[in-house]
Subunit: 213 residues, 4 copies
């Protein structure tokens, strides 16, 4: 993979658009800005994408694909505790590698855009169902009632997506650079610990993990 010139123009446009949409949102990004960042004329964008909206959706589609695959695989066999842990970690890894993605998603949720509905229908809904089952079967039985399990699932979502979404805040306030591998490692461990405590499987697995390392 040679860096920039080797990419197709379409992909270079997608890269620029992804960065700008994540940084400034759909409304805050102009086609001119995107073209400018690629070193292209405004009009050229339309040789590759039929409209700004279409480009935006292509950005989301491309960005979500790897995440969707992970989620799909997780939904497939997320019934053991290890599988659950692994799924969470894989998601966090993926978001860490593609830091624009959580921002794009969070913006889409805030905007309550049309794309969100499609997103939910195609990808989020199945994950959600599997996630509920996973929590039900993976948590200490007496700990959470049915309503709370729904909230717990969303809590996990906020824990992971909020983390990557608030990078600016976390750097400013906490002095942590989320893009550093070190900080990321700490976060991954923290995440596992938190999820075990919330699922009520705290003590033993923790110790095992500590030893395993």
């Amino acid at each position: 993979m040679t860096p920039a010139e080797a990419q197709s123009t379409s992909e270079r446009i997608l890269d620029a658009a992804e960065a700008l949409f994540a940084e400034r949102g759909f409304a805050g990004t102009s086609v001119r800005d995107i073209a400018g960042r690629v070193g292209l004329n405004q009009a050229s964008i339309y040789n590759h994408f039929s409209s700004k909206q279409a480009l935006y959706e292509a950005v989301l589609d491309r960005g979500l694909r790897p995440l969707a695959e992970i989620l799909g695989a997780a939904a497939h066999d997320a019934f053991s505790r290890q599988a659950s842990d692994r799924a969470g970690e894989l998601i966090a890894e993926q978001l860490w590698r593609t830091p624009n993605l959580p921002k794009l998603l969070q913006r889409e949720v805030l905007d309550n855009g049309e794309y969100l509905e499609r997103l939910i229908r195609n990808w989020l809904r199945p994950i959600y169902e599997k996630g509920l089952v996973a929590i039900e079967s993976g948590s200490r039985p007496d700990l959470w009632d049915e309503h709370e399990r729904v909230l717990l699932l969303f809590a996990f979502y906020h824990l992971v997506f909020g983390h990557f979404t608030s990078a600016a805040l976390i750097r400013s306030l906490g002095g942590l650079d989320l893009s550093s591998a070190d900080v990321h490692g700490t976060y991954i461990a923290f995440l596992r610990k938190v999820s075990h405590r919330l699922l009520g499987i705290d003590a033993p697995p923790e110790q095992k993990k500590e030893r395993a390392r």
Copy 2:
């Protein structure tokens, strides 16, 4: 106080602007839209606010004031477990009553706008410092090391702000209407339970709460 007509024009503008900025973001909201929603000519907005940016900041200032007061009070005496619990609940209550606020804040964090810096300097920084101390003194001593306590503080932030920020997603996926008092009650209880588990003070308070109901 009759609902709409009794308010000053400036406040009606602030109301409309708050709703629109929360819903569509700064870039996605036009001054014309705001004026239209108040039933005013575009130009009239400028009799009350010197620019769109100034209006935006006035919206945030006004919206943040009650929250800032709660946070300020919390920072003042958040050293007992009860005080901590209470602070979290008050914040959640406040965000529930002003559902635009968390969205505005989250957008500001995503946009990494200039206002964010001021916000951090004036309000968030002191809260953050107090929060760290509160976690240190209020959690089971062996549970979280120094680095993790920072992450834990942000986790609480994500748990609360993410919740209100993702209302659209939670309704679509979880079928929960966050504006309902019932759902809100469940969430408040859930939040306390989660925070106790994360702070390692699970068993006894939980049982008390269970009985109390």
Copy 3:
């Protein structure tokens, strides 16, 4: 004459408007600017003048009055060489004391505004006719033919009005501060010398004047 407060509001408005119209022209001056300079609300201007245009004309009327009187008097008895000299000096004196005036007039000429026509009809035309006669009777008979006398009259106009109108250029390029009394004195003497040369009455009067001083 107490400085500012003793003036009527109308006159303070006229002062501010005169300065701004001279500096930026009619189109470049806003009612808000004028009101601001007087320390008044925009709307208050309309308690004193019915429109921006009316205010502009009031400025010109007020500013032109003293000049018109001088010109009127000059037109009355400008048939001796001394009277001619004196008229030119009086005009130059007046323009020097009211430096906004030549600028306003020059702008009006450039804009070719409606006011100009009225101006010509009421004041400039009679002066022009008298001026032609004065030149005819005051210049060396063989020097200028009929056509040239017209051009000569305008040349005098340019010599005087252009001088005060180009203050900015003269300061920048020539390093002369036209508002200084010294520079003004030099100019007055220069003007007389020039006019004598152009009227063909150079040698003897010059010598006489030199002695007279």
Copy 4:
């Protein structure tokens, strides 16, 4: 070269802008007016010039170029009386052919705009210095002292620029149409006569000219 259609759009915009800026000034001219006169959409202007200000400066730059060349050449060898005469004539010729130019310049002087400073630095200053030398070496030695020579140089400037700038006044009052070649010829002759009288080299050249006609 067919008159209008053969020109590039940019030049047609420059033409329209030049006419309007000269006629109404910068503040009094709207981009819409300019576009309208070219038969273009407002927005199209911005495909050719980055802002109204940039267009204005392009107008001045283009308009001043021929004049600057004449002035530059004049400054090069304006030391004989003939060269001096010729320079003045060339300038007057040029202003006559581009009647918008003197108006634009006079407006710029009145507005005391930023462009004026650049203009002075680049073009006017060198001409001014050469002009002073030309007057010193070309005038009767005992006639003007150092201070007066400065005023005399500006007087020439007023005589020429004021003439073309006041076309409206001259037509109204004097009944002369400055755009007529006849009137222009008279003016050129008049100008030479005036400059000879002011430089104190009256008698002989005058007689020659009188005969020549």
